[in-house]
């Protein structure tokens, strides 16, 4: 299953890889968890409906998700916030994670309305990117939240959510859960039979789908 890549990546890096195809080799608990991520993304309970729309737009822009299929990032982030599943630490200059998310989502909407006359979720991708780029480049506080620290928090949650998806695993060539199968071909440039050789998009024709074996 391939996620749509940005335009300059004209071919998949690991063509043909599907971590989900290895599902029969995973243990029961892992299989149930990973498949539920795809089949039944958790219901949104922490964010209000307007907040959900803004957060979803924010997360999609951070990870460059422009179309379907997409990883349901807002569902994963929301589930963590609802369960209080933080990293346990926070910056002295930022409130707790849940409050940071609510406040930052609200401020994104305020900025969009002030600049473009529409809410953040309804703004165009370019408009959303312009607001976000401004925050990314900021050296000071944005609506009272230190911009660099806020950016760090957003990305931590966004990346954890994105790379929990088997579709993201396929994008980066990660073959997925390894228990109880284990690995047989450890070593530099060696691949398991279910791993796919890296085919960089710079190669003409998008590279070859060479499966498994040794280098």
């Amino acid at each position: 299953m391939s996620l749509p890549l940005p335009a300059h990546d004209d071919a998949r890096r690991f063509p043909g890889q599907s971590s989900l195809e290895q599902g029969d080799h995973w243990d029961e608990a892992t299989t149930a968890l990973v498949r539920s991520r795809i089949d039944r993304p958790p219901e949104v309970t922490f964010f209000t409906q307007p907040e959900e729309g803004i957060a979803a737009a924010l997360l999609d822009r951070l990870l460059g998700q422009g179309g379907e299929p997409r990883v349901p990032l807002v569902n994963f982030v929301d589930a963590r916030l609802a369960r209080g599943e933080t990293d346990g630490w926070h910056y002295a200059d930022l409130p707790e994670d849940g409050e940071v998310w609510r406040r930052s989502v609200r401020h994104l909407d305020e900025d969009a309305r002030e600049r473009y006359g529409v809410g953040f979720a309804d703004a165009t991708s370019a408009q959303q990117d312009e607001i976000l780029t401004g925050i990314m480049d900021m050296q000071h506080a944005w609506h009272g939240l230190p911009a660099g620290q806020l950016w760090n928090l957003w990305l931590r949650y966004a990346c954890t959510a994105f790379y929990s998806s088997p579709y993201a695993w396929d994008e980066i060539g990660f073959p997925g859960p390894a228990y109880p199968r284990g690995y047989g071909n450890l070593g530099i440039d060696r691949r398991e039979r279910f791993e796919v050789r890296d085919a960089p998009p710079s190669k003409a024709g998008g590279g070859t789908a060479a499966r498994g074996g040794t280098a």
């Binding site: 995973w26 243990d27 608990a29 892992t30 968890l33 990973v34 994963f76 963590r80 599943e85 933080t86 990293d87 346990g88 630490w89 926070h90 910056y91 002295a92 200059d93 620290q149 760090n152 931590r156 954890t160 959510a161 790379y163 929990s164 859960p177 390894a178 228990y179 284990g182 690995y183 047989g184 071909n185 450890l186 070593g187 530099i188 060696r190």
Partner: protein
């Protein structure tokens, strides 16, 4: 072999088969609040668990207190990073300063096992002969990446074995004679690169 017999007489744990099963928490001895015991240990981590095992084998009555769950790995653990969040130690902390460095997110670990749950508690147990390699096998490791003199290579299992890569980036070498291990089925592997 006299020395090995002496070791076994002192500490038989190397010869014990693993006894953990799904119901180990139920089968353990429990004490009531009114019982008097010899020792209470707070924390079932690497330190507490080891002390508990040694003293209880010596006949002490030991109660262990642990704030977090007694994990049943087959049921509770997954081979997935996001799904392992419940194992991470996430007690509240605050970072400050002019340039605060973000802390890690998947620090080991909580529950019975403590930080040992971070690597799923998997540690191949050293055999007493592993501590006498120079005497018994005629070689000694000089460091992390290789050995100085003659080497012996045994591979008991291809599964999860570091490959014999030429860069020396493999696991810490140990030379273990499989004929000395009392548990032939244990999937241990040792691979030692000859260093010229």
């Amino acid at each position: 072999m006299n020395s090995l017999r002496a070791v076994r007489g002192r500490n038989e744990s190397a010869w014990l088969l693993p006894l953990a099963g799904p119901d180990v928490a139920d089968r353990m001895r429990h004490y009531s609040d009114d019982d008097e015991v010899d020792l209470v240990i707070v924390g079932c981590g690497a330190g507490g668990s080891t002390v508990a095992q040694r003293l209880s084998r010596a006949g002490w009555s030991v109660v262990m207190l642990e704030a977090w769950p007694f994990w049943e790995p087959d049921r509770d653990w997954v081979s997935d990073e996001a799904g392992s969040h419940k194992l991470y130690w996430t007690e509240p902390r605050v970072i400050d300063g002019d340039d605060p460095i973000p802390l890690g997110s998947n620090n080991s670990g909580r529950g019975v096992g403590g930080s040992m749950v971070h690597f799923a508690g998997y540690t191949p147990r050293f055999h007493p002969s592993d501590f006498r390699t120079e005497t018994l096998d005629g070689w000694a490791p000089t460091g992390l990446w290789g050995t100085k003199t003659s080497v012996r290579t045994t591979k008991t299992s291809r599964r999860s074995c570091p490959s014999r890569d030429r860069t020396g980036l493999g696991a810490t070498p140990t030379a273990t004679r499989t004929d000395r291990t009392p548990w032939a089925a244990t999937a241990r592997c040792s691979s030692v690169e000859r260093v010229r």
